[in-house]
């Protein structure tokens, strides 16, 4: 094997991923693997601190929000250059906002511009299918960008840090013809699928090439990057179909690292001298109780008994990577809005047995998938199943393929199922709002009081007030117990011993410019 034959600073950093980006233009994407790449190329107005989840400046050195929370002012960094040689100024930023607001009809739904529709949803001609409409407009003044909102939302300022709102160079925007896009069925524009020289950002790396035949995407260092130049001259993202193949490729020194290491491999890799830095937890895994599909689950006592029957500590100890914790509520404890006063449920099979004994319950689980919050669904399911059986529940398992599982869970087909979420940015609403903002078939929960609190939180512009509302909602939710939060697990990432790894981010937003060879 042996990679990085160039030596020294000129070495190529090869990173194994499960998938390559869906689109090089982040507006079209909604998945982590796309953003992992585009984040290296494009910058956003705001960013998270390296290795943490605090909001910090990105392209904006400083930012400010008016008291009513509707006017956001960003003071851009001076001397930032795009990869195509253009200079960053407020006009360039506004050009991006203008582009989004002027996107034609095919973009007005979550099928295409998922995050834009959810976070901003504003279009000059026509509406977003989500019903969102937050943006009034963007005004530029030298290096000052002012963005006017119609309403406040829990998504701000987080939305300004989302990879999907990355700033492209005005030159790029001129070449992009959004009007030519006719719909997802006809494919995405070529420039999103191949490096065609159109897309230029301000990030530490610029697009170099995309070899589809070999599932390799290459970025090269941008020497005029506004921050510290990247530690490696090239990054190759290489896709692998399975984690075992990634592990072997790493062990054979063909790649320098990969993400989402199976927990079972962490200790082994560490022992073999690889670096497996621990991330902060930023996700949540839960066991859902669909109250409408299974009448038994409509009974709070049953839900409580189920909560007592599952040995969550055992799952954390034996099946999740080190650093995981048993969750008390539907968000990790690092997120604002986390409440310390929620009702907790401890493992108590003896208390659960009288309620559950003799019951039969259907339990869905996904077969061929691995997510950051549930590295091996099968093991987790087996463990929960064993717990439930221990208290006398007959578990009717319904294993499903992932492609079938999500629709089934979303449509309420499954009474019991395991699922989770990784936060997009440091915002409690990004967790709770995902499930409990209104009635959904996923949970079948009918608590208008909770929904009301959630709606208020959604529109609350003040972070502290919002946190308080979310904490209140969290407490109500944990009393209602629509599902059992199981754990927040730190997804593992691994690097070979020859590199200095980047600071690992709980949001899985590693900055690869921090990587360098030893």
């Amino acid at each position: 094997g042996g990679v990085g034959d160039d030596g020294g600073d000129d070495q190529t950093f090869i990173f194994g991923v499960p998938n390559l980006p869906r689109s090089l233009d982040p507006i079209f994407a909604n998945d982590g693997e796309t953003f992992r790449v585009t984040r290296q190329v494009f910058d956003t107005l705001l960013d998270h601190e390296s290795g943490g989840n605090e909001m910090v400046g990105g392209l904006a050195e400083t930012w400010d929000v008016s008291d009513d929370g509707l006017t956001w002012t960003f003071n851009l960094r001076d001397g930032v250059e795009f990869h195509d040689g253009e200079t960053l100024d407020a006009a360039a930023v506004c050009a991006n906002f203008d582009r989004w607001m002027n996107l034609p009809e095919p973009f007005h739904n979550t099928t295409v511009a998922y995050y834009y529709n959810n976070l901003f949803g504003s279009f000059t001609d026509g509406e977003s299918s989500t019903g969102n409409d937050f943006l009034v407009g963007c005004s530029a003044d030298g290096l000052t960008v002012t963005i006017q909102l119609k309403e406040t939302s829990a998504n701000f300022p987080g939305a300004f840090s989302m990879a999907t709102t990355a700033i492209l160079s005005p030159g790029s925007l001129e070449q992009i013809d959004d009007g030519a896009f006719t719909g997802i069925d006809d494919g995405l524009p070529d420039y999103t699928q191949d490096v065609t020289g159109i897309l230029a950002g301000t990030g530490p790396f610029q697009l170099d090439s995309w070899n589809h035949a070999q599932d390799e995407l290459t970025l090269t260092r941008f020497d005029d990057y506004w921050g510290d130049p990247a530690g490696v001259s090239r990054i190759v993202f290489k896709a692998y179909d399975d984690e075992t193949a990634l592990k072997q490729a790493l062990e054979a020194s063909e790649i320098h690292g990969y993400d989402l290491v199976a927990p079972a491999h962490v200790a082994e890799l560490e022992a073999a001298g690889f670096q497996v830095p621990t991330r902060g937890v930023f996700n949540i895994l839960y066991l859902a109780f669909q109250q409408e599909t299974d009448e038994q689950l409509a009974d709070l006592e049953v839900r409580q008994a189920l909560a007592a029957a599952v040995d969550r500590q055992n799952i954390v100890d034996s099946l999740l990577p080190e650093g995981g914790v048993v969750a008390t509520q539907f968000m990790p404890d690092t997120v604002a809005g986390h409440s310390d006063n929620v009702t907790t449920y401890s493992y108590d099979p003896d208390a659960a047995r009288p309620v559950l004994e003799g019951r039969t319950m259907e339990f869905c689980w996904p077969t061929n998938v691995s997510r950051p919050y549930m590295p091996s669904p099968r093991d987790i399911f087996e463990s929960i199943k064993a717990d439930l059986e221990a208290v006398g529940v007959t578990v009717q398992e319904k294993p499903m393929e992932w492609a079938n599982y999500i629709p089934a869970a979303a449509s309420g087909e499954c009474p019991l199922y395991i699922l989770g979420w990784t936060g997009d940015f440091n915002e409690g609403y990004n967790f709770l709002g995902t499930w409990f903002a209104n009635h959904t078939d996923e949970f079948g929960m009918n608590r208008d009081d909770i929904f009301a609190v959630m709606q208020r939180a959604a529109r609350e512009g003040d972070p502290d007030a919002r946190a308080a509302l979310l904490a209140e909602a969290s407490e109500m939710i944990m009393d209602e117990l629509p599902g059992l939060p199981i754990s927040s697990s730190p997804p593992s990432i691994v690097f070979s011993a020859e590199v200095n790894p980047p600071n690992v981010s709980p949001l899985t937003q590693e900055k690869f410019d921090e990587v360098s060879f030893r």
């Binding site: 094997g1 990679v3 190529t12 090869i14 869906r22 689109s23 079209f28 909604n30 998945d31 739904n109 979550t110 099928t111 998922y114 299918s129 989500t130 719909g183 997802i184 069925d185 494919g187 995405l188 999103t192 699928q193 589809h212 035949a213 070999q214 599932d215 390799e216 290459t218 090239r234 190759v236 290489k238 896709a239 692998y240 179909d241 399975d242 075992t244 193949a245 072997q248 490729a249 062990e251 054979a252 063909e254 790649i255 061929n368 499903m400 393929e401 992932w402 492609a403 079938n404 599982y405 999500i406 629709p407 089934a408 979303a410 449509s411 699922l419 989770g420 979420w421 499930w435 959904t440």
Partner: protein, 334 residues
């Protein structure tokens, strides 16, 4: 001859047509849909519904099929869920599969035929028993496990060979045919060709395990049968040298069933590629198909399976033609 080829190729049309109908219904009957691949876990029911609508999945199936055919008439296989043209994807990825399958078949033939031949000549002796035993074990080992073991030994432990990819990632090369070894030789980039060869060894070995075993045993059986034929005895009675008898009389006849088997094995190879390419991150149409199945990428599944079926039929046509060359008794115009 030309007529025969043309007719056989024309015959392909109804086969592919039938296959496409079958597949179309089948694929759409798979539970779940493409939404899981395209939307995040927290997407709402409305989001999912909208996606199905945008993809035309809510139309009656015959409307969808008509649309598919209309596109196909312009050689448009539609787009993958990831937004690229299926035909482009296949064109880019197929060379990898060809290269892999070809090398695997080469291994099977180059090793299998002599081995089977020697086994037959030494029937019942150590060589025979170990060749037969070895090939049976080859057949009986699940491919993914064999691949894993090969990688663990030769890539991870010994570090002799790479465990994945077609080339060392980041290598620059000139692309002409998409076959890296061939390109490397054509353009004089011999280090690329060599790199490609090195990367081919393990996956090709894993993929070759079954064809190798089949070819070995087939050759052995066929040679044994041929050795008992009257014309071999005639050749002996003519006092010919052992070499002439073995090559002109025994091997040539013994090869006939093996040739057919090789044609049929193409199917097994293409299927085997699904596993092998995934395990070795080789990037051909095998792993493409597997991912397409997982993400319910209907257009990609259709395109790939139709391609595989076409290749299978064409390869077998070539084998049949080859057969007429090898065996004068068989004429194409049966």
């Amino acid at each position: 001859m030309v007529r025969y080829v043309v007719t056989r190729l024309l015959q392909l049309i109804p086969t592919l047509f039938g296959l496409s109908v079958l597949l179309f219904i089948w694929v759409r009957a798979l539970p779940g849909g493409p939404d899981t691949a395209l939307l995040p876990e927290n997407a709402t029911a409305a989001d999912r519904e909208r996606l199905r609508q945008d993809l035309g999945l809510n139309d009656p199936i015959w409307v969808q099929y008509a649309a598919f055919l209309a596109r196909l008439a312009q050689l448009d296989f539609g787009h993958t869920l990831r937004g690229r043209a299926v035909s482009t994807e296949l064109a880019e990825r197929f060379p990898a599969t060809i290269e892999l399958a070809f090398v695997a078949m080469l291994i099977a033939v180059v090793v299998g035929i002599p081995l089977g031949y020697l086994a037959a000549r030494n029937r019942g002796r150590f060589l025979d028993v170990s060749a037969v035993g070895g090939s049976l074990i080859g057949i009986c080992t699940p491919v993914f496990f064999l691949a894993f073991i090969l990688k663990e030994i030769f890539a991870v432990r010994l570090g002799w060979l790479p465990s994945s990819s077609r080339l060392t990632p980041g290598t620059s090369y000139t692309d002409i045919t998409g076959l890296r070894v061939v390109d490397g030789i054509i353009t004089g980039e011999f280090h690329v060709a060599w790199d490609a060869v090195v990367h081919l060894i393990l996956p090709a070995l894993a993929l070759a395990s079954i064809p190798l075993a089949v070819v070995t045993r087939m050759t052995r059986a066929s040679v044994m049968e041929t050795l008992g034929e009257d014309f071999v005895r005639t050749a002996e009675s003519k006092g010919l040298t052992a070499r002439v008898i073995q090559f002109r009389h025994v091997l040539r006849n013994a090869m006939l069933p093996v040739v057919t088997a090789i044609g049929l094995l193409t199917g097994a190879l293409l299927a085997g590629a699904v596993l092998t390419e995934s395990v070795f991150a080789f990037g051909g149409i095998g792993s493409f198909l597997f991912q397409a199945t997982q993400s319910r990428d209907y257009a990609a599944i259709m395109g790939t399976v139709l391609l595989i079926a076409t290749v299978f039929v064409v390869v077998n046509l070539v084998v049949d033609l080859l057969y007429t060359v090898l065996d004068p008794r068989v004429t194409v115009d049966r």
